[in-house]
């Protein structure tokens, strides 16, 4: 596996792979920021500890993926210090702040499922064994994040006034923005980096969500403006207000 020092030296498949890994790593960075901001709302000491651990896990996964992006000529300087709000490639799902505890639980369920679904397709990659091992480790650690959100969904549903199902329906539409239109060319799959296409992964995501929530038939796919390099429709980047909260700060205090 070659280490490339500039983007010009990359094959088309490697460029697409680098973009997708950037999107997954940024999804984890922003999700870690969500956990950080919600931490104080942990409903018990065990919840506080769990949210803290999930935050730490997501930061660790993001950093490990950023480090792997070094293979594509990406530097730590670029990843952590020179990017602005418009350069962050996290899913649209995480743009809108949680509106309530149940909306938070619904949103983290969708985000954790979406990220794990996408990473699961790298676990068997023969083209990049380091990435395959990294994906496997991340997935094993993320299992407990999923248990946490599923457990809370079940608990919230005991209350007849709970809005968790409505919150999930809204968040599902936002989550699906992460996948493009079905059956479009998928060079990461055809080059053997992933063992499933984006269309199959979208379907896999809907199936796994369907074990916890009712998934309505005929959910609209993303608009034509969907771009694989940012895995989003519309303009690139996240809201400035969100970026200000999640960006790396105080460089002088950062570890070398």
């Amino acid at each position: 596996m070659a280490v490339i020092n500039s983007i010009e030296g990359l094959s088309e498949a490697d460029r697409f792979l680098g973009d997708e890994l950037y999107c997954i790593a940024d999804a984890k960075l922003v999700l870690a920021g969500w956990y950080m901001m919600v931490l104080q709302n942990g409903r018990s000491i065990a919840d506080f500890t769990s949210i803290c651990a999930m935050m730490q896990g997501q930061y660790g996964h993001a950093r490990a993926l950023y480090q792997h992006l070094g293979r594509f000529g990406v530097t730590l300087e670029e990843v952590e210090w020179t990017r602005g709000a418009k350069d962050i490639r996290s899913p649209k799902l995480l743009d809108r702040p949680p509106q309530s505890w149940s909306d938070f639980v619904a949103a983290i369920f969708m985000a954790e499922q979406a990220i794990s679904t996408q990473l699961s397709a790298y676990r068997t990659s023969l083209a990049d064994r380091t990435l395959a091992r990294l994906a496997d480790k991340i997935l094993k650690e993320s299992r407990f994040h999923l248990s946490y959100s599923v457990g809370w969904i079940k608990a919230l549903r005991k209350d007849p006034a709970s809005t968790v199902d409505e919150d999930a329906r809204r968040r599902l539409v936002e989550a699906l923005d992460w996948w493009g239109e079905p059956d479009q060319p998928d060079i990461i799959f055809s080059s053997g980096y992933r063992d499933a296409s984006d269309s199959d992964l979208r379907e896999r995501f809907l199936n796994v969500v369907g074990t916890t929530f009712d998934v309505p038939d005929g959910i609209a796919g993303p608009a034509k403006s969907w771009r694989p390099s940012i895995r989003r429709t519309g303009s690139p980047g996240i809201p400035e207000t969100l970026f200000e909260k999640i960006r790396f700060k105080n460089r002088e205090l950062a570890m070398p």
């Binding site: 000491i45 065990a46 500890t49 803290c52 651990a53 407990f144 994040h145 248990s147 946490y148 457990g151």
Partner: protein
Amino acid sequence: MMKKVIDRQLELGGDKPEFYEVFARRDSAEPLTHIGSVEAPNEQLAEARAWFVYDHHTWREMCIVPLSAIVTITERDSKSKVKVV
């Protein structure tokens, strides 16, 4: 000073306390040992809370048992309580 009142349903996810006992071992040579308890309204939340709260070792094996499934022998009818985390 006002005493904090816990809304069990809202803050803990269940209207009555349900406990799970946590057992773990660091390697296959060690016996499975009781390491603590968690309160949770269902298995999934108990699994996550146990894993995150008792993360002071890299466990080779961890399992949880609902307290309601444990048949007490020596402590039958006693008022002893589990340690709540």
